[in-house]
């Protein structure tokens, strides 16, 4: 039986197209994971010998040999790789070479903090970009609209960590309003890191929304709606915004997926105890199992976000 052609031309979403689509998505996920972990496995092994890092500065050759044997680092690379694949299938991602703790356990212990910050930062991104994009798009021909578009353009070029440091200096040090340390201030401690994340995501999303809104407002159907007596706000909300939503959702999904991987600096500046810091520390000490566990978990999350984005696009696309 021939598969149904998706009217939008995109691949069918995970949750909306039945079992065959689901099977395809799972198959794609498996391929993605195998390729990712394979590349990662061999690339990591090029970075150095973790035995010398584990053993410390005065290790004897015998101690190094013992460590290599204990962690099977003395085995041929292909044997290590096959063992790793076999254990990964059983969800056994090994133990940290630095601490002896379960690598997956270390990642999962930090994951809630990273997810919390990711979602909060994304919410701040939407809270800024949606109204700003609508307003700028609706005033594209006015001086204030152009000025705001210029501000968004400039902000898009600002490094996120600079904005983060400025936020801390103003809101924490000078005004004493908000904590800059993550994790202990409940919702309050989320505000600054969320704004920092939004500062490097929102400008781009704002500009995309503004551009789409402007296009829609200049289209024939908008002119027709106005000719039929619809007010400016009504045209904006009922017609321009829904159509602008499609492009904005696609970009938002990409940003969210990228954020899961790119939150390291924000976590570091705001002392947020998430996966990013763990990844950095693990890379420094060549803790292969933990690096692998972080990458596998984030790959799964990115895949999930992309699937949810496809689902969202399916739901809001008029052609479906």
């Amino acid at each position: 039986m021939a598969s149904r052609l998706h009217p939008s031309g995109r691949a069918p979403a995970l949750l909306g197209r039945g079992l065959p689509a689901f099977a395809r998505q799972v198959g794609a996920l498996v391929v993605l994971l195998v390729v990712t972990v394979t590349l990662l496995f061999f690339t990591l092994r090029l970075t150095g010998d973790p035995a010398v890092v584990i053993a410390g500065e005065f290790a004897t050759p015998e101690a190094l040999a013992d460590i290599r044997q204990r962690y099977q680092l003395d085995q041929p690379l292909i044997v290590q790789y096959l063992t790793f694949l076999e254990q990964s299938v059983r969800l056994n991602l090994g133990s940290s070479l630095a601490t002896g703790q379960s690598a997956l356990g270390m990642v999962l212990a930090r994951l809630p903090a990273t997810l919390t910050l990711t979602v909060a930062g994304s919410a701040a991104n939407l809270a800024i970009a949606v109204p700003a994009g609508l307003w700028i798009g609706s005033r594209a021909a006015k001086v204030d609209g152009r000025l705001a578009a210029l501000v968004a353009f400039v902000f898009q070029g600002l490094p996120g960590y600079v904005v983060a440091l400025v936020l801390i200096e103003v809101a924490t040090v000078r005004l004493g309003l908000l904590p800059s340390i993550g994790g202990d201030g409940g919702l309050l401690s989320l505000i600054l890191p969320s704004l920092a994340i939004a500062s490097f995501l929102a400008p781009k999303l704002t500009r995309i929304i503004a551009a789409r809104v402007r296009e829609e407002l200049e289209s024939d159907y908008a002119t027709l709606a106005r000719a039929h007596g619809a007010g400016r706000i009504a045209v904006l909300i009922r017609h321009a915004w829904p159509n602008a939503l499609l492009g904005a959702t696609a970009l938002f999904g990409v940003q969210l997926a990228g954020l899961i991987n790119g939150i390291v600096i924000t976590e570091s500046i705001f002392a947020w105890p998430g996966v990013g810091k763990l990844l950095l520390d693990s890379i420094i000490v060549l803790d292969f199992p933990v690096v692998q566990a972080v990458v596998i978990v984030t790959t799964l999350l990115v895949f999930l976000v992309n699937s949810m984005t496809d689902y969202g696009l399916d739901r809001i696309d008029p052609r479906t």
Partner: protein
Amino acid sequence: MGQLVRPRYWMSLVVLTVVVTGCTGAPSDDSAGGGAVRVAIAELPPAQADPAQHLGRPAVLIWPAFYDGLTFIDSAGDPEPWLATGWELTEPTVWTFQLKEGVEFSNGEPFDAASIVKAADEILFGYGAEAPVRLNLLPTVTDVRAVSDQVVEIETEDPDPLLPKRVAQLYPLPPEYFDEVGSEGFAAAPIGTGPYVVDDWSPGRVTMSANPSSWRPGQVDTLEFIEIPESSSRRAAITSGQVEIAYDISPTDVEDVEAGGVEVHIGTDPRIRTIAFFQRREGSPVASADVRLALNHAVNMQQIIDTFYAGRAPIASQAATSNATGYNDQLSPYAYDPELAQDLLADAGYPDGFPMSVEVVASTDLDKSLYEAVAQDLRAVGVEVELREIPFAEWREKLYSAGWESDAFSFSIAFDPTFDVSRGYQNLGCDVEHAFFCDETVTDMVRQADSMVDADARAALLRDAQEVAYDNPPAIFMEERVELIGVQGVAGFETVNLIAPWHSIAVAG
């Protein structure tokens, strides 16, 4: 146009956001001044409180809040009584330690010789047999036995005059509790005899409460360590009052921090910063002692210290911190004398200088600035320095394998926990596996010293070794490292070789 907006999709996103962000826990009780002290540090020990895994930073910043060693190394680098009240060498290879009476672990188990034997069984001969404490700190110990409840004997393979210093970081284990939770459980929820009890060890944060039954009880109700990796964030945390103590303040931030009413405590960090020479690199000019002397005389370290540390760090004159046994206080830092440097280079056959590659690890802006300042001074005498920044993991592997692709590399030499000149020569000597520098005369003197048990004679021989090494420097000596610590609202804070006696700390006023 059809129904394009799907409100449920956007609403579900908002609800998800609220649910997830609402799960971040209760607001802090913000109890500064009410019996709580919060401490910002750059890094928590990755292996938590596993007593087999860590030496030096960052463990020594935190662990003394709940662990005690048998001895405590004082500011002069000498062992002081701690859980051991006295010790003596009863046979050439046997040290006998008398233990403090009436001490309990925070779970009520008694501290006695059995808890030292348990520590040895687990950390030295058991699960920690290939871990850093065994390999690097106590490699020579062959047996630990209880003579009585309060007396323990430690036997070493060869005479080890440094053992009383080494056991400063051998922490006793409560046998019953350790057997119950195992090494991994113990690392996450350690039990010690110190002034605080670990209540929670989460990623990025360690929370402790006072241990009233300790032989040195804590004075504040809650002691909390918070991991803040970024230097600028630690500065913000201390100046805004979010923490009472902040380690590792950048020298460039000191003025701002002090202007905010925060006192900056200067602690001794038992390391010296150097640019070490890869003497064994074939054809390298740094094989010549004259060249190495010239490079030391070419650097204006005083100006560099004044510029980047506001004069707060001592200049290193030799491979030792000034409190290490065997430090030779007759040796002054190499005088800044570019003309002498050029003469020495000419004598060595390099009148026009030479190109020199240096691999450095620059974790902070300060590191980068310091190495660049040294490079500029060297360029001024004709040595065209090329600084190559490399990751720490690569640096470590090159150090242990002597796999350098350069004439020199950045190297901070640590002297804790033994505070002894021989500690430095564990890296700088000829006996090192894959040695990168070798002076047979100096190595032989250090080797002799290591077999001597007469402390005064041993120290004198090490001082002589330093004098010999002065004319054949293994490195460009930069500064004795210092730790700048912001402190506010706290009484009784001090550090000894980075270690804070946490029991003496109280909320001020």
